[in-house]
Amino acid sequence: MKTVIRNTTCADRLLFFLLILASCAGIFISREAVSQSSDVLIEVNGKPAYTFPLAGDRTVTVNGPCGPTVVEIKDMKVRIREASCPNRLCLKEGWIAKGVIVCLPNRIVVTVGGKSAGSPRGVDAVTG
């Protein structure tokens, strides 16, 4: 072993060092990529209020202009469980595993599945 190390040049050692660095970077890069596709982002009035992993079951209450809205995360799905807005369209959305639930009166947006959610089949925006 010692002879192996003695036989390496500076360039060899530098190469080893760079290789180790590159593989460590890979861990961080892939972690970021995975988290984008499985996070639940809750925004109130356009500002991010909470980000939770989709994998952990929990219930959270957020307050908007109309009052509290209860968001439930369970079995890799999300729904609005209780709402204090007048028309309660958000409750009718039911459970989602990807996409967006919006409560306009209470100004709450729940996004599942990272930044590309809500853009079906590779379009940048949808009219209509």
Binding site: T9, C10, A11, L14, L15, L18, E43, N45, G46, N87, L89, V102, L104, R107, V109, K115, P120, R121, G122, V123, D124, A125, V126, T127, G128
Partner: protein, 337 residues
């Protein structure tokens, strides 16, 4: 020799680091509930800070404008104009004056198919609650709908509705205008490419980081599934696109569809089309003309867009598709359409 190799390697490593530091342009996106809908702004830039600042600035511009022309708020300038109808002219800000002047222009161009004085009629309908006003009330309020009774005094910056009970409703034009304002704001902040989408009223400028135009889906007015089915896609840069459809706010009663696009001449929902998409250089015209063409119906609507120099994709009441020649190359239809 070994030393030279080492120097070369260190140099290569440094070069690599430098390349990583000069970040490539990326897409940044933010959505906010504004104007009773969702507004999404997308920008292409190489600095997250610059993106954040430009998007927030553009969103607050829309928020301010929305406060001026909100039909449902008592404190808006629009509410003051409506409240003082038949009484006195109301002094308003340049933005409110600007959008009303342009609304009158589209009303004139479309022979009243788009009419911003539709307010007394729209106010009586409640689509989520499936409330249809009595026929007698619809007829009675029709007398208050006439864009020729809007008096705009540009020098004094005032707007006056000639008869009491008249009401301006800028819903058919405001989101397109807001998209225009937001885009100008982004440009002032140094952004050279992006998308402003006030729900379905979208303005695209510049190119995506991969050098291609923006890809905008056009919704199928009759969805077979829940997943935002598209009928076509448009590839746009430097253009605005808007859609008016009978499926946005509607209810069905005794087999008949009642939707929010009211014909100013009858007070009832216009029946000629399922959806109309207009592509224009300005968000305001795309928004205004999509409503005007929808109300006019496919034949008159086609003449209207040709005269106005904008492009349109009309899906008539039977599902027939009508397009202007200018759409060739811009719009591709999904399989089966």
């Amino acid at each position: 020799m070994k030393k030279n190799l080492l120097v070369l390697l260190i140099f290569a490593a440094l070069l690599n680091l430098a390349a990583c530091a000069g970040r490539k342009p990326a897409v940044y996106k933010k959505t906010k509930p504004l104007m009773d809908t969702l507004v999404t702004i997308t920008v292409v830039t190489n600095s997250e800070g610059e993106a954040e600042k430009a998007i927030d600035d553009a969103l607050s511009t829309i928020d301010r404008f929305s406060g001026l022309i909100n039909f449902f708020s008592d404190r808006s300038e629009l509410a003051q104009i409506n409240g003082d109808a038949g009484i006195r002219p109301v002094r308003v800000s340049p933005d409110t004056l600007g959008v009303i002047e342009r609304a009158v222009f589209i009303a004139e161009k479309s022979g009243g198919a788009f009419d911003p004085t539709i307010g007394p009629e729209t106010r009586m309908w409640d689509f989520p609650k499936k409330i249809r006003p009595p026929d007698a009330s619809i007829r009675e309020k029709l007398g208050l709908v006439n864009y020729r009774d809007i008096l705009v005094d540009r020098e004094k910056s005032t707007v006056f509705l000639r008869r009491k009970g008249m009401m301006l409703d800028l819903g058919g034009i405001a989101k397109g205008y807001a998209a225009d304002m937001a885009l100008e704001n982004l440009k002032r902040n140094g952004i050279t490419a992006g998308l402003v989408a006030a729900a379905g009223d979208i303005r695209a400028f510049g190119l995506k980081p991969d050098g291609t135009p923006w890809n905008i889906g056009i919704k199928n007015p009759r969805q077979n599934s829940k997943a935002d089915e598209l009928i076509a896609r448009a590839r746009l840069t430097g253009k605005a696109i808007s859609t008016s459809g009978d499926y946005e706010r509607y209810f069905i009663e005794h087999g008949r569809r009642y939707h929010h696009l009211l014909d100013p001449k009858t007070g009832y929902p216009a029946g000629g089309c399922r959806s109309v998409t207009v592509i224009s250089d300005s968000g305001l015209y795309a928004d205004g003309f999509s409503t005007a063409v929808f109300v006019s119906g496919p034949e008159k609507g086609m003449r209207l867009v040709t005269d106005a120099g904008v492009d349109a994709l009309i899906i008539d009441k039977d599902g027939g598709i009508h397009t202007t020649p200018g759409l060739k190359g811009l719009v591709t239809f999904e399989d089966g359409h």
